[in-house]
Symmetry: C2
Subunit: 209 residues, 2 copies
DNA sequence: AGGAATCTGTCAGTGCACGACAAGTGTCGT
DNA sequence: ACGACACTTGTCGTGCACTGACAGATTCCT
């Protein structure tokens, strides 16, 4: 008699994982990332620090895993865009939609964590480093999806890679302007404007239509 | 009687620093980055590992410091471009000129180290992470220079930041294509093509002329 | 119930990075 | 030329991140 779709063990792991994330973000917020030790995080959840490393490859990984989920959200939104939409436009709409989703659903775990993650990325060098590394990987994944939309080979043709990188850059620029410059405006709006700037030149049309 | 412009102490430091870099690159090349310990690098130069950390903030920093010099080269080249040249074009020419310089001057310390650094960045995650972090800082510096060229405020106006990021992206795309795809062609040529692709849309004209 | 698979804790060890103190060396004024 | 001073370095000790190995506990399957 298995309750739900998952077994007890699986659910327990899920709970431990989320508890570790929550405890970590809480401690990071209060003490700062560097000042927080893995031991403290583990202790707060009452597991051994060894166990922490069975869930996360590194202390930074707690934050990175949340950011990865945000990329997944973008991919899902991207798949919902019409196939004949120019790629940059599709990416634009998808990003804005995801951000709007975070803003609207105040009770969602991600909406509250989005700002938290952004903060950690901004003022913890090692987190920033890992996040950039992850972003460059996600850029490849995004480039492949865009190449598919364009109907070209993502390896031979440099254009999807450029669009992906440029789009990601626009997002980063927007998030940064949001945190440093106008934290009161919704991020989605700033992102919208950043993409609008790009619209002119590198908006390759979709494959055929 | 001080020989040269620097005192003995300063010259000694310079020599230690370069010896550490050489020893580190040598060991990285033979054993791999992760497998090389700071102790080994220090031992090869006959200093204590503690001293190593007085020259470099981290093991990664040895590689990063070399990459920083490459950015400086770009800045210098950029300053030589005519003031009325559109910013993206100026950046384009500067980057290509620097790469051509590395290629031409085979005896230059940087030309031989360029490939070495690129290799380390490619297959050592922690080096990659740090390099990306450094690039994002250099992006800001570059954005400021471009903003100056455009005669705009680099904080209020997002365009210089976008051009800087997009240009840096083009370079990275080129270097990557070089290493993974066509290592026989000169990098400068690949970079030239990457920038050419961008030329269409975001080539903002200079301030006034 | 009982064996198999999986998760966890403990222990021990490595490597990175830093603070503090003492000793050696270069620099500079007189 | 000499001595006070600043700077660099080595040594020692510490803390933290991260990993491998083994043993015990928990869950799963039949």
């Amino acid at each position: 008699m298995t309750v739900g779709a998952l077994g007890l063990r699986e659910r327990k792991k899920q709970r431990t994982r989320e508890a570790l994330i929550d405890a970590a973000l809480d401690l990071f917020g209060h003490k700062g990332f560097e000042a927080t030790t893995v031991d403290e995080i583990a202790e707060a959840v009452e597991v051994s620090s060894r166990t922490f490393f069975r869930y996360f490859a590194s202390k930074e990984d707690v934050v990175i895993s949340l950011m990865e989920q945000q990329w997944v959200d973008v991919y899902e939104e991207l798949d919902r865009r019409p196939a004949d939409e120019p790629v940059l436009t599709a990416l634009w709409r998808a990003c804005v939609a995801v951000l709007r989703g975070y803003e609207a659903d105040g009770t969602s775990p991600y909406s509250s964590k989005f700002a938290c993650v952004a903060q950690l990325v901004q003022d913890s060098p090692s987190v920033l480093a890992r996040s950039l590394e992850m972003c460059s990987q996600q850029n490849d994944a995004l480039a492949r999806r865009l190449a598919q939309r364009m109907g070209v080979d993502p390896i031979a043709d440099p254009r999807p890679g450029l669009v992906a990188a440029v789009g990601a850059t626009a997002l980063q620029v927007a998030i940064r302007a949001w945190r440093e410059h106008e934290p009161d405006k919704p991020v989605s709006e700033l992102a919208d404007r950043a993409f609008e700037l790009l619209q002119g030149g590198i908006n390759y049309p979709a494959a055929t239509a």
